[in-house]
């Protein structure tokens, strides 16, 4: 396996050091950039496998850096933010960011998030309708629309199927309410059905999870959306 390159774009040298210490080793190489401009240049030159981006950069707004990177790179972007605003998180995820970590974060949390994103980006493309997925004791046959849990078939409504399909396609990523809504109902948010999105998810959980109050497959990201556990 070749070396994994992670680019850290942050104007604070202490934070760069923290991220480097947390991620470096085990075949991971960390490169650094102190400004948004430099970050974009290094990303273009080095083609990193993952980018850790601080939003509070002095020269370019973090969102602009993200938009610029997304024009030619599909490498996962993990954002570091000092703000606790759910609106901001939603906007970032909608803009193509893969995950975010709120300051002050623990190194264990950062490592876990980065690993999850690397694993996801290296995995095979999301299963199509022909595939069948196994996750957490479930077997999901998207083509035949058959779901079984521990060998017992579970009945889903059409909306629940659409919801599950959206979750499986975005497995491992936080999907915003709006993204899920578009995937299921086929148009941008608004109106009554979106008000019931949470109700559909709660119903789906009752059919998928061993304990719906302690879900392990569909995890709530408060104020942002949901994340479906990646298969494997």
């Amino acid at each position: 396996m070749s070396t994994t390159t992670i680019l850290v774009i942050d104007d604070e040298p202490q934070i760069r050091r923290v991220v480097r210490n947390a991620l470096e080793g085990d075949g991971v190489r960390v490169i650094e950039a102190a400004t948004g401009r430099e970050g974009i240049d290094r990303a273009a030159a080095e083609r990193p496998d993952l980018i850790v981006l601080d939003l509070g950069l002095p020269d370019v707004a973090g969102a602009s850096v993200c938009a610029e990177l997304r024009r030619w790179s599909s490498a996962p972007i993990v954002v570091l933010s000092a703000r606790h605003s759910e609106h901001e998180k939603v906007a970032l995820l909608d803009a193509g960011v893969d995950d975010y970590v709120t300051k002050p974060f623990g190194t264990a949390e950062l490592k876990a998030r980065v690993r999850a994103q690397l694993r996801r980006s290296r995995a095979a493309p999301p299963p199509t309708d022909e595939g069948s997925v196994r996750v957490g004791g479930l077997e999901i046959d998207l083509a035949r629309r058959v779901l079984s849990r521990g060998g017992v078939e579970v009945h889903l409504t059409p909306t629940e199927w659409d919801l599950l399909r959206a979750f499986v396609a975005g497995a491992g990523r936080t999907l915003t309410h709006d993204q899920i809504f578009r995937a299921v109902w086929g148009r941008a948010g608004g109106g009554d059905p979106q008000a019931y999105l949470r109700v559909h998810v709660a119903n789906l959980r009752r059919k998928l999870e061993a304990d719906p109050v302690r879900p392990t497959l569909i995890v709530t990201e408060p104020g942002v959306g949901y994340r479906f556990r990646a298969p494997g």
Binding site: E12, Q14, I15, R17, V18, N21, A22, G56, A82, R83, H84, E86, K103, P104, F105, G106, T107, A108, T157, P158, T159, D192, P193, A195, Y196, R198, V199, H200, V201, A202, N203, R205, R206, P212, V213, R214, P215, V219, T220, P222, G223
Partner: protein, 524 residues
């Protein structure tokens, strides 16, 4: 000098009318043989009317009397005497006199009314000009200056000052002053007089001889009674709006203040304008002060936001370094990391409290399933309440329990209650979490077997920074959690209260509006 010139003009006017009367009499005398008494009477009547129109009422009446005498003496036989031969001639004479007098009187009244109307029209014009000026004045102070200038010009006085209340000493400050161009600074101390008027609430009159009179001023918009009569060189009036003294109006004239009834009436109206102007100055100052306070509030909030933002970067470094040290086996590093977390919570709580105080916290309620909320809460406290069992009481087979809430804010309330229970309950005892529908409320209960809370503290624990006595202070709290939680609950139409737990311990009851699914809501 003005009076002298007037008298000269009057004498000249009298002489002219006497001459006109003589000329008419001489002319008619020359053709007396061809004249009837009616012609003579009409000729004199014309003259009397002309005299009344041109001159005063007295001149008209005097001309009528003189014409009557000339009529009798020269044109009523026997000529050359005031005797009357025929009684009918007497009737003609008396009729002439009465007609002349009545006509003079009527003319006079018509002229007086015309003059009155003219002066009223002027008054109205001035007031409307003043009204427009004060309304157009951009600043309240400019409007006040306009009022002072109109008062000075209208009353023909030397100076008009408007004094406004101010905090401290002296209690009054000059708000506006209008001075006639050719008048030197008035010798008298306007402030002392204005102050006296403000303190007593009465009109203060300064006499030319240096004495001062204090007398009640006419109240409100009524006629202002200028005390002291013609000898006054200065008058200070308290200005009142709705019973409150809003300033003092002072007028001064070195030669004595003499006002006609019309000027007095006008003055009363103008004084009210001045009072309104003074009130406007006060209100605009207050508005400015409120704006300044608001600005200060905004700055404070911006400061808190910026501090909390700037604190998070170093906290991240501290936490990360402590974590590294902890992995190499130093126990103290764990404490450092925990304290960094606590500091972060404290900053976040302060920020929230300032947002709640500023009314800036936005809630966006939506329909949420109780188990979604509880699941998210359990996930969030899995780190902080890890060494304690949390038992959840929910019936998975009943229909979904739904509530209308802001998910993020409701989650914070439940998380805060769970963390508190984890802190205060004795080790080894579980925390019980339940959700139930009660009437139109969705009710969450967080119960522990901790020491409970004495009755007199059950409301106080919801106050910011309240620390319970006899309870170990160092349990990692900020003293803000419950007060923020209650306000978050209230912001979305909910409540948060304490209940003692049967058998010992605490129950925190968090209610939210329950929600129903409408039929055909598309849940296919």
């Amino acid at each position: 000098m003005r009076a002298g010139a007037g008298r000269g003009r009057a004498v000249l006017g009298w002489a002219a009318w006497v001459a006109a009367l003589a000329a008419l009499t001489a002319a008619m005398l020359a053709v007396r043989g061809h004249l009837d008494k009616a012609h003579v009477a009409l000729g004199y009547l014309l003259l009397v009317l002309a005299a009344s129109t041109r001159g005063t009422r007295a001149r008209g009446l005097a001309t009528a009397l003189l014409a009557f005498l000339c009529f009798n003496f020269f044109f009523v036989p026997p000529f050359g005497t005031l005797a009357i031969r025929h009684p009918l001639d007497g009737l003609v004479l008396v009729t002439f006199l009465v007609v002349a007098a009545v006509a003079t009187q009527l003319l006079f009244r018509a002229r007086t009314e015309a003059a009155e109307a003219r002066s009223r029209a002027e008054e109205i014009e001035r007031l409307s000009t003043l009204g427009a000026e004060t309304l157009n004045a951009g600043r309240a102070e400019d409007a006040l200056n306009a009022v002072a200038e109109v008062i000075r010009a209208t009353l023909g006085i030397d100076a008009c000052e408007i004094w406004l209340p101010r905090p401290g000493d002296p209690p009054l400050a000059l708000g506006a002053r209008a001075m006639a161009a050719d008048v030197p600074q008035t010798a008298r101390d306007g402030l002392a007089m204005a102050r006296l008027a403000a303190e007593r609430g009465d009109a203060v009159t300064e006499q030319a001889n240096g004495t001062t009179h204090v007398a009640p001023a006419g109240g409100g918009r009524g006629e202002v009674d200028l005390p002291g009569g013609a000898g006054a060189v200065g008058v200070s009036l308290p200005l009142r709006v709705r019973g409150r003294t809003v300033g003092v109006l002072r007028i001064a004239r070195a030669g004595g203040i003499v006002l006609t009834p019309a000027q007095r009436r006008f003055f009363a109206v103008l004084a009210y304008y001045a009072a309104l102007g003074a009130e406007r100055v006060r209100l605009s100052a207050e508005e400015q002060r409120a704006e300044t306070l608001h600005e200060a509030d905004r700055l404070k909030d911006a400061l808190i936001a910026s501090v909390s933002h700037d604190l998070r970067t170093p906290l991240t470094t501290i936490k990360a370094l402590a974590h590294e040290l902890g992995e190499s086996g130093d126990d103290r590093a764990v404490t450092i990391e925990e304290e960094a977390d606590r500091l972060n919570r404290f900053v976040a709580d302060l920020l929230d409290l300032s947002r709640l105080n500023a009314g800036e916290l936005r809630v966006s309620p939506e329909i949420v399933a109780a188990e979604d909320l509880l699941g998210a809460a359990l996930q969030r406290v899995s780190g902080s309440v890890r060494d304690r069992e949390i038992r959840v009481e929910m019936h998975p087979h009943e229909p979904l329990l739904l509530g209308r809430m802001d998910f993020v804010q409701a989650l914070r309330v439940v998380v805060n209650l769970l963390e508190n229970a984890g802190k205060y309950a004795p080790p080894g005892t579980p925390v019980d979490l339940s959700a139930a529908r009660e009437g139109d409320r969705l009710v969450f209960r967080v119960a522990d077997r901790g020491p409970g809370i004495p009755e007199d503290e059950r409301e106080r624990i919801f106050q910011p920074f309240y620390r319970r006595p006899h309870v170990e202070p160092d349990v990692g709290g900020t003293g803000l959690g419950l007060s923020i939680s209650r306000r978050l609950a209230q912001a979305q139409g909910g409540t948060l209260a304490f209940e003692p737990r049967p058998g010992g311990g605490s129950v925190f009851v968090f209610t939210l509006p329950a929600a129903e699914l409408e039929d055909g809501a598309g849940l296919g």
